[in-house]
Subunit: 320 residues, 2 copies
């Protein structure tokens, strides 16, 4: 039995567990608030405490744990094990030696991984992509992340920066993106992009029930609000999901055309919109991909749910 501990470091919470890599079974799961405002040092002490809790909850001997993987929401230097920028954590974690520090605090070999790459690694090895050869993972949430797993290993590119699917340009003259580019996939199909389209429709006074569903407070609009409106036949809401799904479909089509993967796994909060968003994705693929044999490309929702980040970080630690 190979066991590693995986941590999923998020903007609001830290989730950790021990993962049996042969079966994918998740043991001793613990979740605590991140309290990122306290700064990286305090958060790292908290993460180390969680690791201890996981080890005692599972009854594992320390020497049965092969390593620690930490999935982080942002850019890392994988060679030095430093975070370079975690935009959603207070203070930004610029050039924080999180890998070496956590190794010191836990006495476990420690590796960092980007959270979307961790998702991809988990789904490719133990989730919806199990048994597939070439897997593209896409996380649709506040941002759009991704990764490429070939034969069960993350394709790294330079410094593990490959797979930044959310920052592909989908429309060269599209709206500005937080990254500095314009027309990024993220600007069309992320949760906030979908919600903002709903807010715009309400503010412009379009004929739609979206505003009614949030008591006219556009701050409360989420992708789920738009879906509920669409389910009631609201034409504006249907059009918003159609449009986001179409742009997402253009991005997925380009990934198929360039990478010809056998499996594309889509996860993250927005994938709960189901066929409202995946329908247009599938339609665009059929319209746009003519070389890759599409009957052999599966486009599937993720299956590991909230554990994907933990599992992927543990897989990453085990592949050291």
């Amino acid at each position: 039995m190979t066991v590693c501990i995986g941590i999923d470091l998020g903007g609001t919470k830290i989730a950790a567990a021990a993962v049996d890599l042969t079966t994918g079974v998740v043991l001793g799961r613990r979740v605590v608030p991140t309290e990122a405002h306290e700064g990286p040092a305090a958060v790292m002490v908290r993460m180390a405490a969680v690791v201890e809790q996981v080890i005692s909850a599972t009854g594992l001997e320390r020497n049965q744990v092969q390593g620690l993987g930490i999935g982080v929401p942002g850019v890392i230097d994988p060679n030095r094990g430093h975070t370079l920028l975690l935009p959603n954590l207070a203070t930004g974690w610029r050039d924080v030696p999180a890998g070496p520090e956590m190794q010191k605090l836990t006495n476990l070999p420690t590796r960092l991984i980007n959270d979307a790459r961790a998702f991809t690694l988990a789904e490719a090895n133990l989730g919806a992509g199990k048994g597939a050869r070439n897997v593209v993972g896409i996380t649709l949430g506040t941002g759009i992340g991704g990764g490429i797993a070939l034969d069960g290993h993350i394709y790294l590119g330079i410094d593990m920066s490959a797979g930044e699917i959310g920052h592909m340009t989908i429309d060269p003259y599209g709206p500005p993106c937080g990254c500095g580019n314009r027309g990024c996939l993220e600007a069309f199909a992320s949760g906030p992009a979908i919600a903002a389209s709903g807010a715009y429709a309400v503010m412009r006074g379009y004929t739609t029930i979206i505003g009614d569903l949030v008591e006219r407070d556009v701050n409360k609009i989420t992708p789920d609000t738009i879906m509920r409106a669409a389910q009631q036949g609201d034409a504006v809401a249907i059009e918003i999901l159609e449009r986001s799904g179409t742009y997402l479909g253009v991005g997925v089509s380009n990934l198929i055309t360039v990478l010809s993967p056998d499996t594309i796994v889509i996860g993250g909060g927005v994938v709960h919109l189901g066929d409202w968003i995946l329908g247009p994705v599938r339609r665009e693929i059929a319209r746009r991909c003519f070389v890759t044999p599409l009957e052999r490309v599966r486009v599937v929702p993720a299956v590991l749910g909230g554990d994907a980040g933990i599992i992927g970080a543990a897989v990453w630690a085990s592949q050291q």
Copy 2:
């Protein structure tokens, strides 16, 4: 010394040579017309004759030749060694068992490869990408092809269909492409796309010297015509190259964002436009890529020239 024979099968000519894979030296090069109108059987007999000529020209013993690789302009089934569609060859070569047939005719182990993938394999191993880890190859010509080489091996995807860079969607609502999609990179930045922009400008009576350079015959306009006009300060010509280079730059940016390669090698006839096209490409990359460390991404012209197809096919045969 490992020697393989490479054939570059084109719409108008067949080029073949023996390649010393340790040095990249090309020996006994032979070029004959394809005469594709005679049909696949006759063309294959001609290719087999060329192989014999190459062997006797180099003075190699037959058993010194490890195998035969054939680069073809189109879609193949690499497992069966069949061509599925070679659109630029008369009759289209639909489901022709070219691999097994050529093996029978030459008595050499024979493998087929798409010509743009062969270009990539050659430049990655023995050309501009030598020593690089992850290489993306792009061929800019009548069409736009490409390939991805990881650690010197072609990344295949399903049935070696990965790398169809020319059919990435660059503008979701762009002009129709011959492949069935719309807004493909090929529809903006291929040789014919650039020439057509020039023809349009002349036909619409724009103030440009492009027409003068071809005696008012728009059929004669080539990318080179546009470049010559641009070199004389022609604003319309400069704008055409700027626009095509910009769209190409969007495509290259997306490849960097997704694959984070260390080297991108651009070849094919259109690359002779040099900085008229590569200038806008570099500018778009700087505008659009914010995660990959760009200082470690080289975007370079191909160095193997017309031999890349032969060399890549030979490399492919040697990697059997």
